[in-house]
Symmetry: C2
Subunit: 105 residues, 2 copies
């Protein structure tokens, strides 16, 4: 890597993004495939619905997640990772492998 | 990935670690090779010496960084990434590439 040159606001932004409470985990969960709101909620313990709503909105705004309303009654919504989100998710999967190998509980 | 099963405290911990203010950036900088305290300080703008000292201590405790005292006068210290730290650094380099490609300033 080209040291000095590469350190910039974009990189900091990406580190912040991954580290933001729940964000990394939500992306990681969506790597398993599109999920409905309640499914994500079930898979991440301790995350309140209000907080999940907030985070999903942020991820939508960042172009990482797309919200898809299913043409059904009652209305159901599912969340999908965009290309941008999937690329980030791949890196988070590697980060989780690193954690498995190196982080002590 | 094996969804449900893989979500655990280790993964959350690794997401937190990367996202902790300056930590990701310090590891990223050290991927360029061992550095002295003042070199790291110069390369990361806005990071105070007091904060850098604190972060380096944390990284040492986590086994990510090793502090090496050079047998010289005046005493000089350099910081190196361990194997654990280097593996994490590789992932952070990928994260920075992702940011370059996808994050708007």
């Amino acid at each position: 890597m080209d040291e000095q040159q590469d350190i910039g606001p974009k990189i900091e932004k990406s580190f912040d993004l991954v580290g933001k409470r729940w964000t990394g985990l939500i992306i990681y969960v969506l790597m398993g495939g599109p999920k409905r709101f309640t499914e994500i909620h079930t898979m991440i313990p301790y995350l309140s619905k209000r907080m999940l709503t907030e985070r999903m909105k942020e991820l939508e705004e960042q172009g990482i997640v797309v919200r898809h309303v299913l043409p059904e009654r009652p209305i159901r919504t599912e969340y999908l990772l965009t290309k941008k989100g999937t690329e980030l998710g791949k890196i988070l999967c590697q980060l989780s492998h690193w954690a498995e190998n190196w982080v002590k509980e």
